[in-house]
Symmetry: C2
Subunit: 253 residues, 2 copies
């Protein structure tokens, strides 16, 4: 990222999720894979914020040092977390690979940390609470980061976050492939930062694609959340009819 | 950016440029459009780095406060820079618009700052030197930021930067539209962070598109820079022939 070869899409994804959950994102910081920089970044972040989310540096290669640098930042000696080690071991054993020192490293975290299962990769995430604050450390691969966040971090932050009301609605679309729906979904999400839209493809036939598009909104009151979802659903249906009217069938529920 | 609606492509573009010029990018930081945050971010950055580049917050709206916050960060009273005011006035007068207070604000900077002409927008950039360090403040609109950087910042940083040798080569491609060349160019740039590739469309016909693809490389010696350019040009030609061989004509010079 610091040499400009990768655009930081993780930061945008997380900022969108956190905003939706009612949190105010105050800083995005990118530092090199160097211990001193990572330690300093964690200390600064824990000092400033109630919730800190980091991505990257949890893999088996020598430059993956985020977990160890985090231990240093909080003044803890890294230990092999038995639950994490079991997660890592299972992934490798299933593929017939041995548990090397580099792989054991992925299970190291401060005492008291909670490993977060990684459903699509090998390195577990890390959840650590310190002085009433939450630190979440996730892998850098976007689909791993997203999967861990959605299964294990989002529910926790929702529970601990500010009082926020959620509303949800599903729009069922037949005849429009997911790739063609994507730009319309992005357009609908631009309505408001508290609107989040996600499509779930249900049909596999190229001829008759079936999408369940879930629209979520969050707000300080139930009425406001519902109004946002209404507005977003209305706009989505309008856009689908406008762009794909000849082949699409839309129903909302 | 902090609500996740915009991905920070400016940071990647600038990081790539600065790496190419021989600089080591040490931090990317995003803060809210709030005076306290911007002041703190500038102070931290000037303290840490020899070169600081910021983007965003130079426009006419009330939340555009980067130039004023920067004055506060360096302890200077903002003044209307006459050269900057002339640049701003010319842009608006050409379109028949009056010079309002909001527009005059775009010409305010610390005494001694140098305004950088904006060839594609209204807000000038700002160049400020402090204690042997360089601060560059650019608009957030990518094409304005890029245009000012390439015309006025790159030559300066090249001159002041570490001793770096540059090499350049042009590959002329007929028959491949610019959009189809873009992914190949991205792939070639992945060879090395010191390789930079830019396509210039020269033909306008859909039937016979003509691209001049400039390949630049920087390195600590002339030989190394030339070898990098050679390698990148070879890879580009290989990719074009592989993907578009049936319709492409390639010549290198």
């Amino acid at each position: 990222m610091l040499i400009g070869r990768v655009v930081n899409t993780n930061a945008a994804w997380l900022a969108s999720k956190l905003t939706f959950l009612g949190y105010a994102v105050r800083r995005i910081l990118v530092v090199p894979d160097e211990e001193g920089d990572i330690v300093e970044a964690f200390r600064e972040a824990v000092d400033r914020a109630d919730v800190v989310v980091s991505t990257g540096g949890l893999g088996p290669t020598p430059d993956d040092i985020t977990n160890l640098a985090f231990c240093k930042a909080v003044g803890a000696e890294p230990v092999v977390n038995e639950e994490a080690l079991r997660m890592v071991r299972e992934k490798y054993e299933a593929r017939g690979y041995p548990l090397t020192q580099e792989r054991i490293k992925m299970a190291m975290m401060p005492p008291g940390a909670k490993p977060l299962p990684n459903p699509v990769g090998t390195a577990p995430g890390i959840l650590y609470e310190i002085g009433g604050k939450v630190v979440v450390i996730l892998p850098g691969v976007p689909r791993e980061m997203e999967a861990i966040f959605e299964s294990h971090v989002e529910p926790l932050l929702r529970e601990r976050g500010p009082p926020v009301y959620f509303s949800e609605r599903v729009v069922v679309v037949r005849g429009v492939p997911e790739a063609d729906a994507a730009p319309l979904i992005r357009e609908v999400m631009r309505i408001d930062p508290r609107v989040y839209v996600k499509s779930h493809p249900k049909g596999f036939e190229v001829d008759a694609p079936l999408l369940h598009i879930h629209i979520y909104a969050s707000a300080g009151s139930r009425e406001e959340a519902e109004a946002l979802v209404e507005r977003a659903a209305g706009r989505l249906v309008e856009l689908i009819k406008l762009r794909h009217g000849e082949r699409a069938a839309v129903s909302t529920g």
